[in-house]
Symmetry: C2
Subunit: 364 residues, 2 copies
């Protein structure tokens, strides 16, 4: 088995992207054969078989040569991103064949991981493995650090979440409700608005695409104290106008390229805006895991994800993130463990179809 | 004396200002006569004779009807601002005739103060009274809270101060040196640059008007960790590009109306930007006074101020703030205590003349 050569398919970046990425910028190639052992010379290497790969918005930035805060992808090489994988072979004493792990891996069938930052062993397998790409992975940590640490919520405070159906946003809203806050969300379709109100318990939700005036929309839901920033640009300007004195803004992303003009309000309203990169907080993963597993076991957190199957569906899934087509987190599984759950003991599972694509909808 | 009526001259705002203010927007009027007693019906009123009035940048915003964060001035009424004054009569048990005070007062010979927030009794009279409009007043508190509290400096960190010869900026730079930081400043003339380097001990200074590219100018002095924000706009954009991860921005003002386009770097560099309004921190005045008096007594802090004499010189003095003409803090004294020092026991006093205007230069 170890000496047998098998094809290792990859999704590679054709060339650096200028402007909006297209599906054709990503190519599936199948011309590499590998042996399922960590090769000689790869000290501490860990060879994994990828099970779930995650589509995240920061991956778009990495397609551009000018990406400033993280290294761009290399044309001709597979994309890298968060995923769940099973160890096939390991020269690292911390991992052994058969271990389940999550962390940074490649968009390919098998990846040789040499930079294990983060690569975290999965201990709880009584939840779907795909959770480690979202509620128990990077988006969960992002929501936790951004809201609980930087937002410093107090009971009764008003919280606003933009991009609220996103993988991070839906968790921030639910963490906020669990902390006794009043939660306002925005999303870009009626379906998403309904989901936030009816399933996630947001107190107020508006469809930003239907608002002529974001400032006025937020004024209806005023007294904002905490803003979980996903968007930037005009939305940030509108939030600043409607924020109370001593408000806090936790900024994990700013998708918009628009300039910001109301920043003077940061001064006059004594607002604290703090950016953070979740990568710097993985030393606190255990603390986060305990916090979140408790609510998962109590059935107090819901999660919606989008899922596509097969490596070949990756490019379309990733680009769907940037057009607002997806709800929740976009993940896709490669062929082994093709069924949604490794250990299917969840309490409720309600698949629904939207926009012609399968959407899995979990109540934990 | 108390029943004698005397003329109370005032500088009033002619009408709300649109665009850049002109001297003619401010008018000296001399048609009011008052008695030097707190009038009947003014419970807890304090009548003061103004000695020093301070020109501050926020006063420009108050000339506009659309000022959002503080009430605009009322046309026909005297301007209000920070000043040093002597109590003439008081119905407030905390103050008695003869007390020296600093706080919010009017641009007039005498003011009836009914809203005593802040109105602080002056205890140390072994420094020039005018200090309470600057190093021991609002600008001093602003530098202290912004730099020491929000900036959280650590020894060896790189600090950048824009508008560094301003009343606040020159103190921030010196506090930073006292904390063992490396201090970079920007100012708008060669004279100011020399002053910062030669007298205030800044490690690096550049003239932002001579720089084609602010980003490149800052890159020469990179590794910024703390930015004391006075300017906003393009300067903030350039700072964001040159800031290290986990940098801190203490924002006490943003004069520029330019939009900001590099805010995404707040996220990617994990920057904390916090605005503050010194008005909310006066409960910590005693702590600040002890901290600063110690350095003043040890001769470790220098201060430059601009001074003009007579109420009638107020409009030109205030407008000079917005054209970069002034160095340090613009104050002007009304007729009593016309000499610069009430208690002239300071160690060094070096008047110099620049731009045809008297400039007082103190080494404490």
């Amino acid at each position: 088995m170890a000496n047998q050569e098998i094809v290792n398919r990859k999704i590679v970046l054709r060339d650096y992207v200028v402007g909006f990425p297209k599906e054709s910028d990503l190519v599936l190639i199948s011309n590499e054969k590998i042996k399922l052992v960590v090769p000689e010379g790869s000290e501490n290497g860990v060879l994994v078989k990828n099970l779930y790969l995650s589509c995240d918005s920061f991956m778009r930035d990495r397609m551009s040569k000018d990406c400033s805060y993280i290294s761009p992808f290399t044309p001709g090489e597979p994309l890298t991103g968060y995923g769940v994988a099973k160890v096939v072979d390991s020269r690292d004493p911390e991992f052994k064949a058969g271990d389940l792990v999550w962390g940074m891996t490649g968009w390919e069938d098998y990846s040789l991981i040499t930079r294990k930052d983060p690569l975290i062993k999965i201990e709880h397998t009584d939840v779907p493995l795909s959770y480690y790409t979202r509620i128990l992975g990077m988006p969960g940590m992002t929501a936790y650090i951004g809201f609980m640490e930087i937002g410093s919520p107090k009971k009764g405070e008003y919280v606003f979440v933009s991009g609220a159906t996103g993988a991070v946003g839906q968790l921030v809203g639910q963490f906020a409700k669990l902390m006794g806050c009043y939660v306002v969300g925005s999303a870009g379709s009626k379906e998403k608005v309904d989901l936030l109100k009816n399933e996630f318990g947001f107190d107020e939700v508006f469809n930003y695409k239907e608002e002529q005036n974001l400032e006025a929309a937020l004024k209806r839901h005023h007294f904002l104290v905490i803003y979980f920033e996903n968007v930037g640009g005009k939305m940030l300007d509108a939030v600043l106008l409607n924020m109370r004195n001593h408000g806090r803004i936790a900024a994990c992303s700013m998708i918009s390229q628009e300039h910001v003009q109301n920043l003077i309000l940061v001064v006059t309203k004594s607002i604290r805006m703090e950016g953070f990169v979740v990568f710097n907080y993985y030393q606190r993963y255990q603390e986060f895991l305990e916090f979140t597993m408790k609510y998962i076991k109590e059935g107090k957190i819901k999660f919606v994800e989008d899922k596509a199957e097969g490596l070949e569906s990756g490019p379309a899934a990733l680009l769907g993130l940037f057009t607002g087509r997806n709800i929740g987190k976009q993940i896709y599984g490669t062929y082994e463990f093709g069924k949604p759950f490794v250990v299917p003991l969840l309490t409720l599972f309600s698949p629904s179809v939207s926009s012609g694509r399968m959407r899995y909808y979990f109540l934990l």
